[in-house]
């Protein structure tokens, strides 16, 4: 039995106020695969992740994780297998220091000293934030917080990673670093994101959600080339696949300054 295999089998969920969030959702994720979960706001991505984490309970259908059906009675085992990286890193980092935050998961799983400290240090090193071990999480930059959030999850040695908007609010370099990091992991990964360029960069397949239903499951390029599908689901192609204007703003070097964008006002030129 491999815990790297995930199967959503006709899963439906309706909130108490009658909002139908998911309807007959089915898809599979295989060992080592990276799947992008995309859809407009309200498409059902968050509900799907909450069902997977066991914060909500499936009303019909089933979710299988390597043969283990996700139910309230199996949730402890499921959480040992899945590593959740939440959208807001501030929600994920709650201990006084980064070290203690990273130690929290393995300690809950019963890892004790003298194994705990080397495990935490190794995880911090792996995510490139060993130098931040003693820092309070709230003093970190956005990219560092995100790396710390990933480290907190990796320390528990999950079989599968579930990431909600992993590059949310990151600057381009931090975003690129996270993408490279995720590419380096061998875990199966389910990545919910509005950053379609990231999905195009990272994912082997894409699950498109629309109004709680699966609109498509296909390789990213197939999905993103299908303009009709994207339009129907309230999405746009990744920026890199969109047509750029024929002539972008021009750059010139201003003496004593860095590069500056030169604005050409037609009226001024006339």
């Amino acid at each position: 039995m491999s815990h790297h295999y995930l199967h959503f089998n006709s899963v439906s969920f309706t909130y108490p106020d009658g909002t139908k969030a998911l309807s007959e959702v089915s898809f599979e994720m295989y060992h080592g695969e990276r799947i992008g979960l995309i859809g407009a706001n309200g498409a059902g991505k968050s509900t799907l992740l909450q069902l997977l984490a066991g914060f909500l309970v499936t009303q019909s259908g089933s979710i299988d994780l390597g043969g283990l059906k996700i139910t309230p009675s199996t949730i402890a085992e499921v959480r040992r297998t899945l590593g959740f990286v939440f959208q807001d890193a501030d929600d994920q980092l709650f201990m006084p220091t980064v070290f203690e935050d990273v130690a929290f998961g393995p300690a809950n799983l019963g890892v004790e000293e003298p194994e705990l400290t080397p495990l935490v240090l190794e995880t911090l090193k792996r995510t490139g934030i060993a130098h931040l071990a003693d820092r309070p999480p709230y003093h970190l930059s956005g990219g560092q917080k995100r790396a710390a959030a990933i480290a907190t999850v990796l320390a528990s040695s999950p079989s599968m990673l579930v990431l909600d908007e992993p590059a949310n609010a990151l600057d381009p370099i931090a975003r690129r670093r996270i993408i490279e990091q995720l590419r380096g992991f061998t875990h199966s990964q389910l990545i919910a994101s509005h950053d379609l360029d990231l999905v195009l960069d990272l994912c082997h397949r894409v699950v498109v959600l629309h109004e709680g239903k699966v609109a498509a499951v296909a390789p990213p390029m197939t999905v993103f080339k299908n303009k009709e599908l994207l339009e129907q689901c309230g999405l746009l192609p990744p920026l890199r696949m969109q047509e750029l204007p024929p002539e972008g703003p021009q750059l010139k070097v201003v003496e004593g300054h860095h590069h500056e964008i030169a604005h050409h006002h037609h009226t001024a030129e006339k």
Partner: protein
């Protein structure tokens, strides 16, 4: 940085003091027990026994020095306690009938002593509690309490309460910032009606945020108890520290005040 932001940052420095200073070399149980000795000696003191209480200020002062905590940090945090203490005992000098003859022969109401006693008790309690957390750190304090067989439920409650304070603070900070950005020409205080509305909203927001944090904890195997961390080690220095403070507290309670009294009044015990 707004006043609120700097206040939150200031309170957050609680945990940052714990790693530095000589206090971190001691077992957290030692500090907890010695603080307990001080508090017991304080509560055991009579109504107006100021001379019993005065030497007990040595304990918080020692923590302050050994943990390298700036005195201004402490003063800022215990001053808000003062009005409450004064409010309780302010009328005592006029309401109490008894008088005390001072060395010069002047007579004053015993109420002045009870007022001083109430104020000192409030200050010692607040300073000891604050410095205990600041010098030991919340995580080590929890480990110490667990080591003293305090129920896990109580320890988890304490930790959650401490963290929730910051969650509320941060959410209020965001709302207050949003209000300031859109308050136009209005300056200064927030109107009371609006503040009440924001307060309602604050609890909903902080509850939602706390629930997200709780979910993140659950996702990492949290089962209602925060892991205790590395095992604690009781050393000789812990025994010396505890014996020293326990003895001092006992001395304060029974002998030191009499000695000091004899020294001040020039009369034999």
């Amino acid at each position: 940085m707004s006043r609120l932001s700097s206040t939150i940052e200031g309170w957050r420095s609680f945990d940052s003091f714990a790693a530095a200073g000589l206090i971190s070399c001691l077992d957290p149980r030692t500090i907890i027990l010695s603080a307990l000795c001080t508090v017991i000696a304080m509560t055991g003191a009579g109504k107006g026994e100021v001379m019993v209480l005065l030497p007990l200020t040595a304990f918080p002062l020692t923590l302050l020095v050994l943990a390298n905590i700036p005195p201004i940090w402490l003063v800022k945090r215990i001053l808000p306690v003062l009005p409450f203490a004064l409010m309780i005992g302010l009328l005592n000098p006029w309401l109490e009938q008894g008088t005390v003859t001072l060395p010069g022969g002047a007579e004053i109401s015993t109420g002045w002593f009870t007022l001083a006693s109430i104020t000192l008790r409030a200050l010692i309690s607040a300073a000891t509690a604050l410095l205990l957390i600041a010098s030991v750190g919340l995580l080590n304090l929890s480990r110490g309490l667990a080591g003293l067989k305090v129920p896990a439920l109580f320890i988890t409650q304490l930790q959650m309460l401490f963290r929730y304070f910051f969650v509320i603070g941060e959410e209020f900070q965001r709302m207050e910032r949003a209000w300031r950005l859109r308050s136009g020409s209005r300056r200064g205080r927030m109107p009371l009606k609006l503040a009440a509305q924001l307060l309602q909203n604050l609890f909903l927001r902080s509850l939602a945020r706390a629930s997200r944090i709780h979910n993140a904890m659950l996702a990492r195997g949290f089962n209602g108890e925060v892991p205790a961390g590395a095992p604690l080690h009781w050393r000789l220095r812990d025994t010396v520290w505890l014996a020293g403070w326990a003895g001092f507290a006992l001395l304060c309670r029974f002998n030191l005040p009499l000695l000091l009294g004899a020294m001040l009044t020039g009369q034999p015990q």
